[in-house]
């Protein structure tokens, strides 16, 4: 995955040369981002165009007389050529106008602002769980390459890739909620606490903590832990597998031999030297898995009645609410692009060779 060429130490760059190079790198990254955003807009626009549902009927209803229909058609700008419609669409998206949801009768942008923190909360804790389990597992597998612990890690990885997240969620509810009663059921908060927490940031645990409602914090935690674990288990597979392969590459390098010859403890060789060098690609992997969890939350939220972006999109889907569907798709796509850009830049900052 990551080719590590023989490091040829470059001459220390002069301040001006470095700034110029950074400007060039930033320029290239921004071009990529611009092209991707354009592609995203084009695809969502095309989806809106190919759909068999007539957008005019969605506004006026199917019994509207012909003149009302025509007026609505003109108002929506559907008589204009496609490129012009596309330009209008881009302009609207950039001013934060994603249209109105048929289902909630509110602006899609406002809807998404309300639901997004819930998804963020879920995906963040999921990623934390994935990193906390996946990275150590991957390191253990790499250090014990070919032995039983490596085999176990491999099987765990493959199983993680093979379980549909919505089924795992159902089974988790059945076992840990219904049978064992260890965790709270669907939703973000028990009904009893719902009136105590006023949304400020939208992150329930944070809001409750700020308002000093510690019982509500605990309650929110027990609601969050199961869906987050279900999501986290998915990313354990990916993170541990990639950690293993990065660590194996690093452990074969000469500097590891040098560190061992120097008499460093195995702990410092593995966790200090090798892991330090594997850190950069690892950041990219974690960022990627974070994006996948945002996506995985679409199905998880449906199971856990979690009022996030995923459930918003699926609800809209089932009700043919295209503005909401495309708005949600755009937001998820934009987050993907932002996380990609972020991990690229972070990787360059952390690794002198990539600057």
């Amino acid at each position: 995955m990551v080719a590590i060429s023989a490091p040829t130490p470059p001459a220390p760059p002069r301040a001006k040369g470095r700034a110029a190079r950074w400007a060039k790198i930033l320029g290239r990254e921004l071009t990529t981002v611009a092209i991707t955003i354009f592609g995203l807009l084009l695809v969502t626009f095309l989806i809106a165009r190919v759909m068999p549902i007539d957008p005019v009927l969605a506004v006026v209803g199917d019994r509207a007389p012909a003149d009302v229909y025509d007026k609505a058609r003109l108002a929506l700008g559907l008589d204009k050529p496609y490129w012009q419609q596309f330009a209008t669409y881009i302009g609207k998206v950039f001013t934060g106008d994603l249209g109105t949801s048929v289902l909630t009768a509110q602006k899609v942008t406002d809807d998404i602002k309300t639901v997004f923190p819930a998804t963020l909360e879920l995906a963040t804790l999921g990623t934390l769980i994935g990193v906390a389990l996946g990275v150590p597992l991957g390191i253990l597998a790499a250090v014990n390459q070919g032995r039983w612990i490596d085999q176990i890690a491999r099987v765990i990885g493959l199983i993680g890739y093979s379980i549909p997240v919505f089924w795992l969620g159902l089974m988790g509810l059945l076992l840990f909620y219904a049978k064992l009663g260890w965790v709270a059921g669907p939703g973000r908060l028990s009904v009893a606490y719902q009136d105590f927490v006023t949304p400020v940031t939208g992150l329930v645990m944070l809001d409750a903590a700020m308002q000093g409602e510690w019982d509500a914090v605990v309650d929110a935690f027990w609601h969050l832990i199961l869906p987050a674990s279900v999501l986290g288990l998915l990313s354990v597979a990916y993170i541990s597998r990639m950690t293993r392969s990065f660590m194996i590459t690093e452990l074969q390098q000469q500097y590891v031999v040098a560190a061992r010859v120097k008499g460093l403890s195995e702990w410092r060789v593995v966790c200090g030297h090798a892991l330090g060098n594997a850190f950069v690609p690892l950041v990219t992997v974690i960022a990627l898995s974070y994006m996948h969890l945002l996506e995985g939350s679409v199905l998880t939220e449906t199971i856990f009645a979690w009022p996030g972006l995923g459930r918003y999109i699926t609800n809209a889907l089932l009700n043919a609410d295209m503005n909401a569907v495309l708005g949600g798709t755009l937001v998820v796509g934009a987050v993907f692009i932002a996380v990609n850009l972020f991990s690229d830049i972070l990787g360059r900052l952390a690794d002198p060779r990539a600057r």
């Binding site: 890739y161 093979s162 549909p164 089924w167 059945l174 995985g296 889907l317 295209m322 692009i337």
Partner: protein
């Protein structure tokens, strides 16, 4: 040579000879050696066994299932697993075991349709980008990157929402979002191959670009593409099940595993078997493809 063992030994040495006398012998010998290497990996053999059983079960579904997967019996609703109904019955009194068995057919159809559309498209795009380089490469890879940067499932959802729910549309939606990794793999392979001596030799002999790409580059990309496809099968099965679960894939009464889990959702706390068994089927089949892909990678894709 009447002795069975003696015959098999000659057969073995004919296949493993280091100086094959014909093209066919060399090719068969290579397959045989790969098979011997594959056989050493028990996990991969388990994977192969699962995939072969899936094929057999799908082919002989009427013989394996004891009931009609669509036959409703309202007096036998939601029965627990028993000797008569191994996996119990669902809310319409249909035998879940039989539905899971017939579901294998649906799953196979989806996977096959996606793979035969996505494989060639990705292969051609990747090979063209890698072989011609320059602006062809830039344009094609830009498009690929744009699609790679998208959330796959959400995009597939949006496509199905636009096209309307159904098996064919689910396949189209998955295919549209699944090709970029194939193009990436094929391009990476082609970049290595295109500078090989035998390609230069073909060029000197005056072979057309088309001929070189189709007859000399594409076949060399196949092993890594097969590995990629096998891994991808699991992902396709899970995505298709996800669409089915949301009611956007195969429509009732088609016994699709994802849709079956969805129907069992309401009874999950009281009649656990309705949602549990189709899910186990998905896990087992996806695991089978993953194990098989893992084993094939070790054998076919030395890099």
């Amino acid at each position: 040579m009447s002795d069975q063992t003696a015959a098999s030994i000659t057969w073995h040495s004919w296949l493993t000879t280091t100086s094959p006398e014909s093209r066919r012998q060399a090719r068969l010998g290579q397959f045989y050696r790969q098979w011997l290497a594959f056989k050493k990996n028990p996990a991969a053999v388990v994977g192969l066994a699962i995939v072969v059983s899936l094929l057999l079960i799908a082919a002989f579904a009427p013989l394996v299932a004891q009931h009609d997967p669509l036959a409703q019996a309202l007096d036998q609703r939601l029965l627990a697993p028993s000797a008569k109904h191994w996996f119990g019955t669902d809310a319409l009194g249909r035998d879940i075991f039989s539905r899971v068995v017939y579901g294998a057919r649906v799953t196979l159809v989806i996977v096959m349709l996606v793979v035969i559309t996505v494989g060639p498209v990705g292969l051609l795009i990747g090979c063209a980008a890698g072989y011609f380089g320059g602006w062809v490469d830039t344009v094609l890879m830009r498009i690929t990157d744009v699609f790679l940067a998208f959330p796959r499932l959400v995009l597939a959802l949006a496509f199905v929402a636009a096209l309307g729910p159904g098996l064919e549309n689910a396949v189209i939606a998955i295919a549209v979002t699944a090709w970029p990794p194939y193009a990436r793999v094929a391009r990476a392979e082609t970049m290595i191959i295109r500078n090989a001596d035998y390609i230069s030799a073909m060029r000197l002999q005056g072979a057309s670009q088309m001929r070189i790409v189709l007859k000399h580059v594409v076949p060399m990309c196949m092993p890594s593409l097969i590995v990629r496809t096998t891994f991808d099968m699991a992902g396709i099965i899970i995505t298709a099940a996800g669409l089915g679960f949301l009611g956007l894939g195969a429509q009732p009464p088609i016994p699709e595993w994802g849709a079956m889990i969805s129907t069992g959702r309401e009874q999950i706390f009281d009649q656990w078997w309705v949602a549990t068994f189709p899910g186990i089927a998905i896990c087992v089949v996806a695991l089978g493809f993953n194990l098989l892909g893992d084993g094939l990678r070790d054998v076919l894709d030395a890099r």
